[in-house]
């Protein structure tokens, strides 16, 4: 009986060790996945959709020093938009107003400085290609148009070519919004 008991204890300790290892390992993987999802969007279901491939933005090939100098517009998340829009359907979700302020903070400088214009144009280009909300993508495209127009005299920037190319790639829903704002 005593021998059976010590054998049972040994088995129980081993099982606990295996359970603990699996739990830690599994949790760590799950946590990492959770972070990845949060950086993109929270899916409505457990099914993770296959995202369409997006051509690399010019910022993908930047050096570390250049990346530090990039503008972060804080793209609005679909989850926050939905949360705020459900709370107050008649109000423009605050996440979009914050986004408007982020663009405004950089636009005036970009209208007066070539370097700032280049940085903002790249940030807007990235937004047009990757933002989750169609409204945000359209807003970014319209602002790109403003910058292109503002710097049309300076052909070295190549804004007009990039702007025209992006237009060809706009999804239908974003294209409609852009047309509505023209």
């Amino acid at each position: 009986m005593k021998r059976d008991f010590s054998r049972f204890s040994l088995f129980a300790a081993f099982a606990a060790l295996v359970f603990f290892a699996c739990y830690r390992f599994g949790f760590k993987i799950g946590f990492q996945h959770g972070l990845n999802i949060a950086q993109n969007e929270v899916p409505e279901t457990n099914h993770v959709p296959t995202l369409p491939s997006v051509p690399p933005s010019p910022s993908a090939s930047l050096t570390e020093a250049e990346k530090e100098d990039e503008i972060d517009l804080g793209l609005p998340s679909l989850h926050t938009y939905r949360e705020q829009g459900t709370e107050n359907p008649h109000q423009t979700p605050r996440v979009l107003i914050d986004f408007a302020h982020a663009i405004a903070d950089h636009m005036e400088a970009a209208q007066n400085s070539k370097d700032e214009a280049k940085k903002l144009f790249s940030a807007l280009e990235d937004c047009v290609q990757t933002a989750a909300l169609p409204q945000a993508r359209a807003i970014c495209y319209v602002n790109e148009g403003r910058l292109t127009n503002e710097w049309r005299e300076d052909q070295t920037l190549g804004f007009d070519t990039r702007y025209d190319k992006l237009r060809q790639e706009l999804p239908e829903d974003v294209e409609r919004l852009v047309q509505a704002l023209e």
Binding site: L78, Y81, R82, G85, T86, E87, N88, P89, H90, Q91, T92, P93, R94, L96, I97, D98, F99, A100, H101, I103, A104, M107, E108, L133, P134, Q135, A138, I139, V142, N143, R176, L177, Q179, A180, L181
Partner: protein, 290 residues
């Protein structure tokens, strides 16, 4: 001083700061009654201030942006927009006596549909009329043009933008329009919350919203329009015009107008967007039964 009080004061200060950059007209008394008992003082002040800002609006005339603006408001001046509001909003009240936390704004005119359903379809001898508290009295919502709009705390939140408040007033006012009384089928569908079964003509009475379609970020919410020239279209025209043609707006205000216009247009069903973009939306019917 409580946190909410300090927030309201900050909102008011911010609003005054913003509007000081805008052209101002002299302060006229508005025909819109503001509840001085149930609405917080900061909300009353902000509403008066917003009406004054609207009077001071100046839109460049003659451009392609001003055409739908003129069709809706009857002209391109702030006075025209105020006239549009005064015909449609007669009371600015508080919901549940004192402003519900988080509630932004709502026009009670669509409850008129319930009243006429009870009166005309159910042929009730004593159809129930919704009554709203206003100061020390009550207001019966027995016409779409009763124009009872409530505002809540969110109206004065510091993060609520200037253009969004004005856009909302214009949007809510449109809910007071009903050119034709809906037929029995439409009224029944409305009572049963079968919104998509309501005909295009029926939807225009108080310009009721539809559930946003599948694929929309607000899918299922009653936050979209399925007919031409509804409240979201009116808001879109107003905000887009402010973005394109506002005289004296700062960059921040222009960007706020741009996002508000974009969001309003995104609330239109695809076929409504199509008709708008192809120029086939016709002209707006701004009339209403009383």
């Amino acid at each position: 001083m409580t946190e909410s009080m300090s927030q309201r004061l900050s909102a008011l200060a911010l609003s005054i700061l913003i509007t000081s950059f805008l052209p101002h007209a002299p302060a006229f008394a508005s025909e819109i009654a503001i509840d001085q008992t149930l609405l917080p003082v900061a909300t009353q002040d902000l509403l008066r201030n917003d009406f004054e800002v609207i009077r001071g609006i100046s839109v460049e005339d003659g451009g392609k942006y001003s055409e739908p603006f003129t069709q809706i408001f009857g002209g391109t001046s702030g006075e025209d927009v105020m006239r549009y509001l005064e015909e449609r909003i007669h009371y600015m009240g508080a919901d549940s006596g004192g402003g519900d936390k988080g509630i932004y704004a709502a026009n009670y005119s669509p409850v008129f549909l319930t009243y006429i359903y009870s009166r005309d379809v159910r042929q009730s001898k004593n159809p129930k009329v919704t009554k709203m508290k206003f100061e020390d009295t009550t207001v019966a919502i027995d016409s779409p043009r009763t124009g009872f709009v409530v505002v809540g705390d969110a109206y004065t939140w510091p993060e609520t933008s200037w253009i969004d408040r004005l856009d909302t007033l214009v949007h809510e006012a449109r809910h007071s329009d009903c050119a034709t009384i809906p037929d029995a089928d439409d009224l029944t569908a409305y009572q049963k919350s079968q919104y998509l079964n309501i005909s295009m003509e029926g939807r225009t009475c108080t310009h009721i919203h539809m559930p946003c379609p599948k694929g929309h970020p607000l899918a299922g919410e009653l936050a979209c329009d399925g007919h031409d020239w509804g409240a979201y279209t009116v808001g879109y025209v107003f905000s887009k015009t402010m973005y394109r043609s506002c005289v004296g707006c700062t960059e921040k205000q222009k960007q706020e107008a741009l996002v508000t216009a974009t969001d309003d247009f995104s609330r239109l069903f695809k076929d409504v967007q199509d008709r708008w973009l192809s120029g086939n939306a016709g002209t707006p019917d701004m009339r209403s039964v009383r």
